[in-house]
Symmetry: C2
Subunit: 335 residues, 2 copies
């Protein structure tokens, strides 16, 4: 992804391996500070996944792959390391996929760093293809709404929901992007708007509750990411996604989910079986270290919601745009 | 409304007249500080309406009525004072209604404070009746969702959307209230949760984007307030209301709008003619004086949205629960 630094634009990935160490952009500090953190142990990588130094399902997958590489390089027990990583975020299917990928590769004797790089590079290439496939759905002058950050920060590079927007923009289509801020952690405001500004793509931040208002005023398509897609096309994504899907259906706006096939969980029949992570109420009640809620009041803080397949126009993947009914046919054809 | 003070529970109104001066709870400081501000001039009352020291359509109406009383007591030009007050918040129909009420009363020679008290007491009594009528819709054990603050703070006392909840609770019905925080100004979190805690009504704060998630998990009814209701039943309310209405319809949850007849604008045919106020982008981008958005990114900040009548199950008013089609029949029967 392009970052405008004081020395001009520079290309970065969200996570990468360098000199036997794992490096990540610390996403908790954005947009105020751009800082790189360095990891040498799988346990620390687990903590970084838990505390959201790295977030976004595909980027979590890449971080986990590199975490497994670190474990292998240090001679740690691979199964135990895999279990440790898997336990950090229960909703991110890529996390399980990446750990299993690495267990397979390492047990076949592949060099750890090479295997993890192969995994991360595959993600980057898949996201680039999601961009190419999704950009075909975007017309010159379109107004697009997205939610949370399904950008390069969430996916090593390109993004999932932002990949079609990046590719269409670089292809000289005029665009305008509505970025819903995505409470409680404001990843839309803090990360997606940050990425769009770095690419100089026109956009405006809106509060989550204004999505319906602007959809009615004129949005041409909605593109969101996914943390997990079930076999029947039900999917989990950041809290607030379900609302946008219902509104898009009601207002007859195409609603697309951009995700690599690694986010599809073919062993989960439907959304009813997707585990939704509840996070600490302080994410809602405290802002910048200061309590913003009245004393004595509590919050409920589900991190994700589940959107039934009937609200999805199509899944933008690296192998094309799929109808929900086509997902089952991809099973077994993992690329 | 009941406020738990260090000396035990005490009853307050949002605005009232005392010794020829207008007093208000400063709602910008809640929930951190409970502070009373005092006004002697209509110009200062106008500023307090603009800067949201007082907010909520009926409370704005009462503040405007008292502002007109102050103008009359100081011998100011009444028409000019009325215009000044009306220009502060373009979407609040009660503001226009209150100014016109006072112009009529003052021109008939009524004593200013007495006329304004009559207006404010009418609001309190209307809200109490909204509570009684609305409480009949609430069953023991119901889970209720509300948005923004349509509570006692917004309406002098009782509230509109919160009045049925207060009356049902005081009638010993068990309840649980989902309070959506209501970005950007967080009136749900800061004011509604504050009121519910002071009444000791069980509740949880949720982010606005979680409304659909919890509606699907099980909400028995949604009750919101209104800033303006058009003749055909379309209505304006805090941004985010339209989304809840669409979700409630999709999930077959009754969706009620609680408002006194003074909020009904019989001269506005439909929602298309309701003026939606855009407020400063810093309400979205800045929190507690600190910028939370990336530098160089802008926001769009409509304060209200418009919900078409077809999403409304009923309007809870002081004269009963009305279907949208019944509104036109009330025209001319102002009470």
């Amino acid at each position: 992804m392009r970052i405008l630094t004081e020395h001009g634009p520079k290309d970065y990935q969200a996570v990468w391996m360098e000199g036997g160490k794992l490096k990540m952009i610390d996403q908790r500090l954005l947009p105020e500070k751009f800082e790189i953190v360095v990891f040498e142990d799988v346990e620390d990588v687990g903590r970084a996944i838990k505390d959201m130094t790295v977030r976004g399902a595909p980027a979590i997958g890449a971080a986990a792959a590199y975490g497994m590489a670190l474990a292998a390089l240090k001679g740690k027990d691979l199964d135990e390391s895999g279990e440790l990583l898997k336990s950090q975020r229960p909703t991110a299917h890529d996390l399980f996929y990446a750990v299993d990928f690495m267990l397979g590769a390492l047990k076949r004797g592949e060099e750890p760093t090479k295997a993890a790089n192969r995994y991360a590079n595959q993600i980057v290439e898949k996201c680039r293809l999601i961009g190419v496939n999704g950009a075909l759905l975007i017309k010159d002058g379109d107004k697009i709404m997205t939610h949370c950050n399904a950008g390069a920060l969430a996916t090593v590079d390109y993004g999932t929901a932002l990949a079609p927007i990046r590719v269409a923009w670089r292809g000289r289509k005029k665009l305008f992007v509505y970025v819903s801020e995505t409470r409680p952690r404001l990843q839309g405001m803090k990360l997606t708007a940050y990425e769009l500004r770095n690419e100089e793509i026109p956009h405006a931040i809106i509060v989550d509750g204004a999505s319906g208002h602007f959809m009615r005023k004129g949005v041409d398509l909605v593109i969101v990411g996914a943390d997990s897609v079930a076999l029947n096309g039900d999917f989990a994504n950041k809290i607030g996604t379900f609302e946008k899907a219902v509104l898009a259906k009601e207002l007859r706006i195409p609603f697309y989910v951009a995700a690599p096939i690694s986010t599809f969980d073919f062993d989960t029949e439907s959304g009813k079986d997707i585990v939704i992570e509840d996070r600490d109420e302080d994410e809602v009640l405290v802002m910048n270290g200061k309590r913003i809620a009245p004393e004595g009041c509590g919050a409920l803080n589900p991190s994700f919601d589940m959107t039934p397949a009937k609200y999805v126009t199509g899944f933008i993947t690296e192998i094309g745009v799929l109808d929900p009914e086509q997902i089952a046919r991809v099973r077994g054809a993992r690329i």
